[in-house]
C-alpha cells in the first residue's frame, strides 16, 4: 500500500501533470507579484483569470489562430489592469474593495458575453488547443521526455515568464522604479519619476500575466471554457506570492511545489478513494495555501507601501 503511494513519484505522467498544473498558477503568481511589488494588491486576479480564459478561448473559437488568442487574452487582462489602476492608483480607492469589485465584474461580464455569443449550449464546444511540441531527441528520452519535454509551447512560455519577470524587476530601470514605488514612493517622486504611471504600468503588466494564466486553462490544459473553471486558482496565487516573499524565483518553487502536491492528490485519490472521500482531497489545495500563508507570515516582509495610495503633494 505504502509502495503504491511512493510509486506515483516515479511515474512520468505525475511529473508531466505537475508541470501542467503549475503553469496557470505560475503566470498568475508572477502577475500578482509584479502588482504587489509596485505597492498595489490586485484582488481582481480571480476575475481577470476567468475573463482571460474566456476571451482567449472565444477568439480561437471565432477563427483566430492560437497565438492571436493568447494576445487577445493578454490585452483584455491589461485593460482590466488599467481599470484597477484608475480606481486604486488615480482615485486612491480601497484596494481590497476594488479588487473584489473587479473580480465580480470581470467574471460576470465574461459569463454574460459568453452566453450572448454561445446561447444555450449545454455541452461546451471545443477548440483545437495547443498541442505538445515534438522536440528532437529530448522528447524521445525515456521518462524525462514524457515528464518534461512533451509539453505545449504555452507551457514553455509560462516558464519563460520567470526569467523575464526576474530580468524586468532586477535588470531594468523600470523594475527598480516598480520596487521603489512599492517600498518608498516619496523617494521615487523625489527622483522626478511619476509614481502613478509606474504603478499603473505594473498593474497593466501584472494583470496581463494573470489573464494569460487563465487563458492557459482553456487553450492548453483543456480545450473548452466552463463557468467557474478558475475555481479559486487566483486566490491561491495571492497566497503563493506571500509564500514566495515577493521573489519570482521562489514563486516558481512555490508554484511547482503546490502543483506537485495537487497532482499527487489526484493520484492518491485513486488509491485511497474508497477510504477517504474525494472532497477531502479537493480541500487540500485551499488548506495548504492557508498553511503556506501562516508559515510565511512570521518571516515575511511586505512591500512597505503595499495598500497605501499615493497622492502627489500629500504627506504620508
Amino acid at each position: 500500500m505504502i509502495l503504491d503511494f511512493l510509486e506515483v513519484l516515479v511515474n512520468a505522467g505525475f511529473w508531466a501533470a505537475t508541470i501542467r498544473i503549475a503553469c496557470p498558477l505560475l503566470l498568475a503568481t508572477l502577475g500578482e507579484l509584479v502588482c504587489e511589488r509596485a505597492g498595489v494588491l490586485n484582488l481582481g486576479i480571480e476575475g481577470i483569470m476567468s475573463i482571460g480564459a474566456m476571451v482567449g478561448w472565444t477568439a480561437v473559437y471565432m477563427g483566430a489562430d492560437l497565438s492571436t488568442g493568447v494576445l487577445v487574452a493578454a490585452l483584455v487582462g491589461a485593460a482590466f489592469g488599467l481599470i484597477h489602476a484608475g480606481f486604486t492608483v488615480y482615485l486612491g480607492a480601497s484596494q481590497h474593495v476594488t479588487g473584489i469589485g473587479i473580480t465580480l465584474f470581470a467574471s460576470s461580464i465574461g459569463y454574460f458575453a459568453f452566453r450572448l455569443l454561445l446561447p444555450s449550449s449545454t455541452t461546451p464546444p471545443k477548440i483545437t488547443a495547443f498541442q505538445p511540441l515534438d522536440i528532437p531527441i529530448l522528447s524521445d528520452l525515456p521518462f524525462l521526455g514524457e515528464a518534461f519535454f512533451q509539453h505545449t509551447a504555452f507551457t514553455y512560455l509560462a516558464f519563460l515568464a520567470v526569467p523575464l519577470v526576474l530580468w524586468l524587476l532586477n535588470r531594468t530601470p523600470f523594475g527598480l522604479a516598480v520596487k521603489v514605488a512599492g517600498e518608498n514612493p516619496m523617494a521615487l517622486e523625489a527622483q522626478g519619476i511619476d509614481v502613478l504611471s509606474v504603478r499603473t504600468l505594473a498593474l497593466v503588466i501584472g494583470s496581463a500575466l494573470m489573464a494569460l494564466g487563465g487563458a492557459y486553462l482553456t487553450m492548453s490544459a483543456f480545450d473548452a471554457f466552463y463557468f467557474g473553471m478558475v475555481n479559486g486558482r487566483g486566490w491561491i496565487a495571492v497566497a503563493l506570492v506571500i509564500f514566495a516573499s515577493w521573489r519570482p524565483s521562489k514563486a516558481l518553487l512555490g508554484a511547482l511545489l503546490f502543483a506537485g502536491l495537487d497532482a499527487y492528490q489526484v493520484r492518491a485519490q485513486q488509491l485511497a478513494g474508497a477510504v477517504v472521500p474525494y472532497q477531502f482531497f479537493l480541500m487540500l489545495p485551499y488548506l495548504l495555501s492557508i498553511v503556506a500563508m501562516v508559515v510565511a507570515a512570521k518571516t515575511t516582509q511586505y512591500p512597505k507601501a503595499l495598500l497605501t495610495p499615493f497622492r502627489r503633494g500629500e504627506r504620508h
Binding site: F87, L104, S107, S108, P119, F280, L287, V294
Partner: protein, 350 residues
Amino acid sequence: MRFEARETIPQWLPWMTIAGACVGTLCFAAVLIAAAGAPPLVGFKELFIGSFGSRNAITETGATATPLIFTGLAAAIAFRAKFWNIGVEGQLYAGALAVTYFGTGLIELPPFLMIPFLLIVACVAGGLTLLPMVLLRQFMRVDEVVTTLLTNFVIILLVSYLLEGPWKDPYSLGWPQAAAIIDAGVLPQLVPRSRLHLGFAIAIIAAIVIWFVQSRTIFGFSSKAVGLNQSAARHSGISVTKTIIFIGLLSGGMAGLAGATETIGLKGYLTLDLSPGFGYTGIAVAMLGNLHPIGVIFAAIFMAIIYVGADAMSRAIDVPTYLADVIVATTVLAVLIGQVLVRYRVVIRG
C-alpha cells in the same frame, strides 16, 4: 485636474453619490441589454414587472432580499472596521450546517423555543467559522482576505461531502440533500401561499439591532474607531484585538443567520445550491448601503429586485441572467467612485 480633500462632508452627500451610483449602474445595464439585442426600456419594464408587478413577484423579491440583508450586514459590520471578511459565503453554509445538524431530529422543542434555538446555533457556527481567521490576522499578521476566501471553498466541499455521504437523505431519490427540518423548526410564512417567510422580519429586526449597537453602545463606537485608525484607537485605550474579535463574531454570526433562514425558512432542507453567491453579493449590498445597517436593508431590496427581475426579463426577452451579476459588480465599482467624490472634490485647473 486634481483632487482636493473636503474639510467638511455634508451628511447627505454619501447618500447622493449612492443614488448616483445606482443611476450610473442602470445606464450601464441599459447598454448591455441593448448589446443583447433587446430595447433597454422594454428590458427595464420586464425587470420591474417581474420583481414588483404582482403579489407573487413582490413576495419573491422579499424572499430573495432576506439572505441579502444578512450577508450585507455581515460585510458591512466587518468592512466598517476595515476587517475584510470575504468569507461570508462559507459562514453562510456553516450556519446552514448547524441548523441541519440540530434541526433534523436531534433536538425537539416547541416552535417558540426551537426556532430561536436554531437561529442561535447558526449564529454561533458562523461566528466560530470566522474566528480562526480573526485570530490569525490579529496574532500572526496573516491577511484575512485570502484566508477567508479560501475557507469558502473548504466549507462548500465539506457540505458536499456531508450531503453525498453521512447526511444524505435516503428519501431524496439520489439528490445530494439533507433530511428535512422538523416542523417545529420551520419558519412560518409571512404571506400565505408564498415563499416570503418570517426570516424577512427577523433580518430587518437584526439590522435595527445592529444600528442601535453601532450608534448607541461603546462597542459600536470602538468598532468605528478601529476602522478609522487602528493606532489612534489603541492609544485612546480601546482594545483593538478584543474589538476585532467581537466584530468577527458578529459578522460571521450574521452570515450564519443567512444560511439558517434560507434552510429553515425558504427551502426546508439543506442543498448544495442553497446560496447562488449571496455571500459575495453581500459585499455589493454593504457598499451600496454605505455600510449602514438601515442602508443595507434598502440595498438588499434593490439587489433582490435586480435578481428576481433579471430572471423574469431573461425569460421574457432572452437577455442572459448573468446581467444581474454584472449589475451587482458594477454597483460595487460605482459606489467606490462615489466614495472618492465624497472625500475629495475634483478641481479642474488650479
